[in-house]
Amino acid sequence: MGKTKAKNRARVTHPTAPSAVNADKPLERVDAALVAGRYKDAVAAGKLLLKQASSDADEAMAKERLARAYAGRAGQLAAKSMFVEALAILEQRASACGAAPPAIEQMLWTLHAGRPERAAALLREHAQALDRSGELPALRERLAARLLSGDELLEWLDPDEPLRRDHPAAEALLQAFCASDDFAFDATAKRIPWRSPYRGFRQLLDAWRRHADEPEAAVEAFARLAPSSPFGALAGRLQGLLEPPGEALPEAVARLRALDPVDLDAAAAVLGWPATVLALLRAARTLGDAANEKSRLRLLLEHADAFDADEVRDAARALMLHAPQMTREVFSRFGKPSAFQAARLEALRSERDGDESIVVDDAWRDVLEALENSDESAESPPKFADRALTRALVHRRLAELWSLPPLVLHSSAVALEELGRSLELDPDDVPTTVRLISMHRDADDLKSAREVLDAAIERFPDEPRILLEAVRTALAGGAFKKASRLAERLLEIDPVNVPVKTLLLDAALAHARKQIRASRFDLARRQLDETAVQVGAGEPRARVEIVYGLLELASGERGAETVARSRLRAGFDALGGELAGLFAVALESVRLGRDAKMTLTRAKLPSARGFATKEAVRVLVRALSAVREEKSSLAAALVPLETTLGTVAKKRWSHAEYENICETLLRRELLHVLEPFAERASRRHTQVPAFVYLHEYAAVRGAFFALEEAAIVRLQAASRHAMLIEDMRTVHRIEEFLSPPMFGGFDDTGADWFDEPADDLFVGPSGKSSPFAGLPSPDELPPALLELLDLIGVEGMMEIERAVARGEEPDTVIERLLGELDIDPETRLGDLPKGSGRARERGGKRGRSGRR
C-alpha cells in the first residue's frame, strides 16, 4: 500500500518522467531524471556515469551532468528552507565536479542559514563578477528585502555598500508608510536614489498607499514591478489581499474564504483586523460550508468577541432554535431573554417544529401578552419599540396561520378577526387591507367587505390596489355598472393595469349575462357589441363570442340557433378547442344558469370523448388554474368532461405531471375530479406519500370523520414515509387532516377527552369503523357542542384536553369551567340562550379566541 502511494506521488510530482528507464544506461537515466526534476536520482545516476567514464571526454560529460544534478538537488533543499543541507550539496558539487558554487545562491543561502558575516564576505568577493554579468542589481534587491525584514547582515556590510548607505532612508520610508504619514513619506522617498536597491521598495509602498483612492493606477504601478524581485512578488500577493475600494461584503467574504491559511494571515495583517476576526476566519475555514447549526453556534460562542454584542446575541438565538441542546449555553453567555423575546423564540420554535396550529396560535398569543407587559427597551437595540406595529404584525401572523389549508372549523373566521385587529393597529397597510376585503368577499360577506372597502377608499382614494378590490367587490355584488365606473377610474390612474382590464371584461360579460337571464336580449347584444369593439381579438374576444352564442341560443329567435352555433364554434376554436374549449363554453353556460351538458349538445360542438388525450388535459388544467370561479360552478362545468377525464387519468403520467394536475384540482377543491387522478398516481408512484394523502383526502372529499381505519393506517404510514424523505408539506397536511385543531393529534398517546364522550354532548353519527366514528362532522357539530365552544372558546376546549391529560374527568372539568362562567352545570346546554357568547363577554384570555 505504502509503495503504491509512493509511486503515485512520484507520478503526480513528475508527470513527464519516463515510465521505464534502462538501468544499464546511466547516461539515459541521468538525462531522464534531470528533465523530470528527480535530482536525487540524477545525482545517483551521475555518480555511476562518472565512475564508468572511460575517457576524458566521458568524464567531462559526466561531471557536467552531475554538477547540474547537484545544483538541482541543492535548489530543492533550499526551497524547503533546508539551507545548511543545500550548502553542503554545493560543497559536494565543488569537490566531485570541480564546479564553483553559483555565487548568488551560495550567498543568499548562507544568509538564510544564519551566517551574515560569511554572506557579506561572499558579496564582497563576487561583487565585481556579478556586476559584470549584470546580476548584481537583482541580488542587491533580494538582500534589500532581507535587510528590511530585519536581517542582521547590515552591520557586516561595507559602509559604502549601497545596501548599507540607503538603508536608513528605506527604513524611514517604511515607518512613514506604516504611520500613514504621507508628508514624511514624500520627503523620505526623495532620499532614495534612482539606482538604489531600495527603489523597488519605494515603488511598492507608493502604489500601495494609492490603492484606496486610485485603485486602477495602483494596480498598474504594482504591475510595473518585476515579478522576479521580492518587491514585485509582494506586489502580486497584495493584489489578492487588499480590499478593492467599495467592495461589497458578499464579495469580500467570497474572496477571503478562497485564501489559503498563509494568505489569510497576511490579509488580516495587511488589513489590520483584530486577532479575534482572524481567529474566527481560521476556525470558519476549518469548519467548512457543511457546518450544521450546532457547529455554527459553537463557532459563534467561541469567537463571540469578533462580533457586535447585539448581533452575536441575536445570531446565537436564531441558531439556538435549530440547536436546542445548546439553549443553556446561549442563555448563560448572553443572559436569559426578556419575557417577550422568550415568547417570540418559543413561537418560532413551535412553527419550526410543525406543532399543531392551535399550539402555534397559543404561542403567538403569548407573544402578544408578553409584549403588553414587558419593557422591551431592556434589550438593546429596542427593535420592537413600536409596539402597535409589532402587535399588528403578530395578529397578521395569526391570520396567516389560520389561512393555511387544509384547516377546518371556522379558521377563516379567526383569520378575518386577526386581520381586522391587525388593521386597527396598523391601518396604513394596504396589502392587509386588500387581503381583508378579499377574504370577506370570498366568505360571501359582502357587507363586511364593503365596510372595510369604504374606510380604505377614504384613506387611500387613489390607491390602485384598493380600487381594484372595489371593482371586484362591486362585481361580486352584481353591481356591474358600478364596477365599470370604478374600473374606468382605476384605468385613469393606472392605464396599464392588466387585472382591471380583465375585470372590466368580466364586468361587461357579467352585465350581459344579467340581461340574458332577464331575457333582455337587445340590451345584452348592445353590451356585447360594445365590449367586442373594446377587447379586440384573442381570448377576450373568444369569451365575448361564447356569451354571444349563448345569448342567441337563449333568444329562441328565428335563425338564432345557427348564429349561436357559429359564434360558439368560433369561441371554442379561438380558445384552442378540445377540452379547454368545451370547458369554456360549459362554464359560460353554467354562469347563465344553464345545464352545461345540454348546452354543448345544442351547440353541436365535438364530443369530449374525442379529446381523451394527455395534451388536452394539460391545457384544461392550465385553464382551470387560471379561472376564478366558485367550485360549484367549476364542478357543474366539468360534468360533461368527467368521463373523459376519468379515462385520461388512467394514462401513464409522470410524477411531476400527476403532481401538477392533482395540486391544481385540490386548489380548486374539485375533489371528485381529483380522486381518479390521485388514485392512479398513488398506485403508479407508490413511493410518493403526497399521492396517498391526495387520494385519501379526495376519496372522502376532505371529511376526516368519514375515513375508514385502513385509510388512517395508510395515511399514518405515508406521514412517516414523508418524514423520512423530508416532505414536510405532506407531513403537515396529513397531520392537519387527521387532527383538526380542536381534536388533538392522531398520534397522541393516552385517551383524549373526546375518546369517551360525555353524555350527549359528543354523540354523533354512527356506522363508520373509525376512531372518529363517535364524533360529529365538523360541519354538523351538535348544537350543544357549538354552544359549549361559544361559551368557553377554543382555549377552554384546550383546557379541558389538558386537564384530562392530567387525569381529570371531562365532566368535572366542564362543570368547573361552566362554574367559572356562572352557569349552572345542571342546565342542559341546549337550553341556554343561543349565541350567549359568555366567554367573549367575559373578555378574559379564554374567550379571546372566540369560536373557531
Partner: protein, 133 residues
C-alpha cells in the same frame, strides 16, 4: 449569505431611502442579465427590508439561522466599523504595522528560493507552465 442588511451593505438602522439607494447600487453592480443569481438575492433582500413594516416583520419572524458566510460577514462588518471609528483610519486605507510589513517582505524574499537554480531547469519549468491548459 442570508442577512438582507449585509447583502445590501446597509446598517441595521438604515431608513427606507438608504435601503432603496443601496438596492439601486446593487442592481447596477449585478444587472440581471449578467448575474441573475446575485440579482435575485439582492432583490429578495430588498423586498424583505424595504419598509419599516417589512424590517420589523423580518426581525420578528425570521427563523432562518445565519449561515457561515453571514457569520463571517457580520464579523468583517464589525471589524470595518471598529476601524472606521479609529481616528485617521478606515478599513479601505488601513496600513500594516512595521512588523507585518517586515514579515511580508521576508516571506516574499524567502519564497524566491523556490525558484530553480539551474538555467536549464528554469527553461523546463517555463515550458511546463506554458503547456498547462
Amino acid at each position: 449569505m442570508n442577512d438582507p442588511w449585509l447583502l445590501l451593505g446597509v446598517p441595521r438602522d438604515a431608513d427606507d431611502e438608504t435601503i432603496r439607494r443601496a438596492w439601486l447600487d446593487a442592481v447596477r453592480r449585478y444587472p440581471p442579465e449578467r448575474d441573475p443569481a446575485r440579482f435575485q438575492a439582492v432583490r429578495a433582500a430588498f423586498e424583505r427590508i424595504d419598509t419599516r413594516r417589512h424590517r420589523l416583520a423580518h426581525v420578528l419572524f425570521e427563523a432562518e439561522p445565519p449561515d457561515l458566510d453571514t457569520l463571517i460577514a457580520l464579523a468583517l462588518s464589525n471589524a470595518r466599523d471598529e476601524s472606521e471609528r479609529k481616528p485617521q483610519q478606515d478599513a479601505q486605507s488601513a496600513r500594516p504595522t512595521p512588523e507585518v510589513l517586515r514579515r511580508l517582505l521576508g516571506e516574499s524574499e524567502r519564497a524566491m528560493n523556490e525558484q530553480p537554480v539551474t538555467k536549464e531547469q528554469r527553461t523546463i519549468n517555463e515550458q511546463r507552465a506554458a503547456d498547462k491548459p
